[in-house]
Amino acid sequence: MSTEIKEQEIQDNEIVLQDREVLNQQDQSYWGIVKRQFKKNRLAVWSLRMVYFIIFIGLFADFIANDKPLYCKYQGESYFPVVKTYLVDLGLDKWPRELAIVSWKEIELESAVWPPIPYSPTEMDKYNVQYVGPFDEQRRIEQSRWRHWMGTDQIGRDVLAGMVHGTRIAMMVGIIAMAISSIIGIFFGAIAGYFGDTRLKVSRIRLVLNIIFIFLAFYYAFGMRSFVLGDAINDSMGSFAGQLGISVLLFLVMGIIPNILTIPLKRIPFLGKQVTIPADIIVSRLIEILVSIPRLLLILAIVAIAKPSIFLVMVIIGVTSWTGIARFLRGELLKVRSLQYIEAAQSLGFQEARIIFRHAIPNSLTSVLIVIAFGIAGAILIEAGLSFLGIGVQADVVTWGKLLNLSRQAPEAWWLAIFPGFAIFVTVTIFNLLGEGLNDALDPRLKQ
């Protein structure tokens, strides 16, 4: 009897110990819990893997589909033409004269390693023009190595190569546009959510000086430099970015001046009197204005006055789509603000900026990830729609939307209608699924 009880006790203890061990092994931090919750959602986990896969294709598009060999031996010398192209583009290397403008498929190579898809998206296969399908007989192609696996278009461009390089554009659109909109959205959302309507107090003199100096800064940084900026945008995107950087820097420097001037002037009682700025109302109004403009039309209206450039499209999508992030962060911060640890930080006398950036935002930021995931899907969709319409994309850039549009001229080329559209659909879906998965993982109701 007693031995039985003892055995039972020992067993119980072991179970408890095991449980404890499991608990100790499991990461009990916030991220640990989120990760475990996320992993329970098989669809979301698979989406995340797909995202890695797509990013991989985007990053290595030049090594996957290219009309230059990865490695080759020509006249006794070894070359890595794909890598060398990067170096030449960066100005670090030069082609030998006989190889500067050469079609690599037509010269005699002693040996060569070709990329998996030995075509570039803009290369024209003159033997397979006029829409050759994946299952059709392809002229002058004996080995399956050189087949056009997804067919060609009217002028003999390989569709699969276009798909691979389109992946890169789609990824860039998603990432760059969302990076821009996250920065703007987090800035405005943080101000509105943390300060609300009553907590942003500044002295009269600071307010007045700042308003005056914003106009002055705008005048000196952008008004005075309007021709410089205008010439730069016609020159190249790179020089425009440089000039714009100078302007922004000038603007920021001008923005510091009034705040330095404030320090002595604040001592005068009349000027130093505090006024409350309704930050939440101002930001909410701004969001409301932006929301009431249909986004595609807004982008069309801006793109119409600029030269076609895929980077411009990315920037515009980013600048116009921050409202979702700002709204979400605002809501989260309104919740977080009333929590006790913020009060504790305030009573410890921490500065507002430190409380916002070190404590309040990191705790609300995880949920912003959800909006970002959905936002990437939206940005990719909008860019695909724009390039489908043929608006805002240079002629030499191949995107999924452009490929899809080609099928409108040739209903017989079903491969042009199916593959690019399917790629857009899959990408949009995996980012939506990722958003859903994050939403579930971060949902406090499911956390117990």
Binding site: Y219, R285, S292, I293, R408, P411, A417, I418, F425, V428
Partner: protein, 508 residues
């Protein structure tokens, strides 16, 4: 309640103001000279005599006046002390921009103005010289160079061009008539003019005061400006206009300007287009709501059943399917004989074979046939969106205690769901109504482009491609106002169904 509605309506005004300001500045940033776009290159052919040149300029100025471009741009401008506040009177956009660049560089308006006028006089003086075989080439050279100079601001280039004109004036030309060599010296008549240009340009460089550019100046132009005219017109709102030069009624009185392409009023273009977009969107919103509300409720009630799982997955897939892909697939596969499924018409809103005297019923059937695919492609996305929202709203209501109480009381299920839960879960769906507006207008652009429906979307697409800015920016303003009205209406509806909203807004 009333105060809340009033407050919302008053909020409408600054938003509208900012959007109109934004639209206006975009239209001002558009490349190209609006007058020349409108005249379609009517200014070319300046090699003729003075009369044709003056006629061309007159046409330019008349059009410029008609478009209201002879007015200052805005109520106020922030510019520099170097720029005169009457610069807007130089009507040609490209000339004005060159002069601005010169001012930015040298900062002395008086000298630059003198240089500009000297150049103009030189060009006009060339028309007074009789053309002969000897001087024809030089006359052309001076006119061409003068026209280039109006648009040149780089110093070395200006110097070079002036030097070239100087030689053309001063060096006599020998030419052969009837095997006799004649020396032409008629160009020397322009000597005074060219000397004036040279002196003026030297003065510009010598008396440069670029520092003036760094002094910002705020100038006030009053209400007679381009922005004000664009919005409110220059004809008085009440009473009759006495001034025949004032022709604009303004945006708020339905005068949206004229198309660059054919001079048609934008109003009539939009009037024709808007009905197609309205029909498309009203039908598709209606269908979307009719199907998705019961769908959302049913899936929420039957949560975690097979029906719920399948339909939720289906809705998710529908939601992620790009409408332009589905539309393209429809066009490629079921509207052409290529794959043996020529079921629907490919493009347009009516058959070209339709007789002119066809009865209403035949016409109706024909149009309906054409509208099936576009409506389907527009609908399924919003249908999936609303269903998912409805399901979410319903789920959060069903969890609540009062529903459990109702069930515990023994009410039958239909009553619990439709009477108690449904009503409260409907509130978020109302706000969706406002979100649908911008979605639909954007969606229409691509769907109308694919199916070739001459609605607002197609009009705006064509305006972008043809750079027809008056049409584009009117559509832009219009859809923004429509969306704002949608948001306003849904906010008021929200306040009607949920009195807490207006109360909390009033106090907080």
């Amino acid at each position: 309640m009333f105060t809340y509605v009033l407050k919302r309506v008053l909020y409408f005004i600054p938003t509208l103001f900012i959007i109109s300001l934004f639209t206006f500045s975009l239209s001002k940033m558009a490349p190209g000279d609006p007058v020349e776009l409108r005249l379609q290159g009517g200014m070319q052919g300046q090699t003729g005599n003075l009369d044709t040149k003056l006629a061309g300029e007159k046409a330019y100025f008349e059009m410029s006046d008609k478009l209201g471009l002879d007015k200052p741009t805005f109520y106020i401008t922030l510019s520099s002390a170097a720029i005169p506040d009457t610069l807007y009177r130089i009507q040609k956009k490209n000339d004005r921009s060159t002069i601005k660049r010169l001012i930015r560089k040298y900062g002395n308006w008086d000298e630059i103005s003198e240089y500009y006028h000297a150049l103009k006089d030189l060009e006009n003086a060339t028309y007074t010289i009789e053309r002969n075989l000897g001087n024809a080439e030089n006359l052309r050279l001076i006119r061409d160079n003068a026209n280039v100079l109006y648009l040149t601001h780089e110093d070395p280039r200006i110097t070079r061009l002036i030097a070239r004109m100087d030689t053309a004036v001063k060096v006599p030309v020998d030419y052969v008539v009837d095997s006799q060599t004649v020396t032409d010296n008629s160009m020397i008549a322009l000597n005074d003019d060219i000397e004036r240009v040279k002196a003026a340009y030297v003065a510009v460089k010598q008396n440069a005061t670029p520092a003036k550019n760094y002094i910002p100046v705020l100038s006030w132009y009053g209400f007679d400006n381009q922005y004000h005219t664009w919005l409110f017109g220059d004809i008085p709102w009440f009473g009759k206009s006495k001034d025949p030069t004032k022709t604009s009624l303004g945006f708020f009185r339905g005068d949206f300007g004229e198309s660059y392409l054919d001079g048609r009023p934008v109003k009539s273009i939009l009037y024709e287009a808007i009905k197609y977009t309205m029909i498309l969107n009203i039908i598709s919103v209606f269908i979307a709501y009719i199907i998705s509300i019961p769908m959302g409720v049913e899936t929420a009630v039957q949560k975690d059943t097979t029906f719920d799982r399948i339909s939720t997955t289906m809705l998710f897939i529908l939601y992620s399917l790009p409408s332009f892909w589905i539309a393209t697939l429809c066009v490629v596969f079921i509207t052409t004989p290529e794959y043996g499924m020529d079921l629907f018409p490919t493009y347009g809103v009516s058959s070209s074979t339709l007789a002119d005297d066809a009865g209403f019923w035949t016409r109706f059937k024909d149009s309906a046939y054409h509208f099936i695919l576009p409506v389907f492609c527009l609908t399924y996305g919003s249908f999936a969106f609303i269903s998912r929202q409805m399901r979410g709203g319903m789920l959060s209501v069903i969890r609540q205690d009062y529903i459990r109480t109702a069930q515990a009381k023994g009410l039958d299920k239909a009553k619990v769901v439709w009477k108690h839960a449904f009503r409260n879960s409907l509130i978020p769906i109302i706000t969706l109504f406002a979100n649908l507006f911008p979605l639909m207008i954007s969606g229409s652009v691509i769907i109308e482009y694919i199916f070739n429906i001459p609605g607002m979307g197609r009009v705006s697409y064509e305006a972008v491609v043809a750079r027809n800015y008056p049409v584009l920016y009117t559509v832009f303003m219009f859809s923004a106002i429509l969306t704002m009205v949608g948001i306003l209406v849904s906010d008021i509806m929200y306040a009607v169904v949920d009195p807490r909203i207006s109360f909390s807004k009033k106090t907080g």
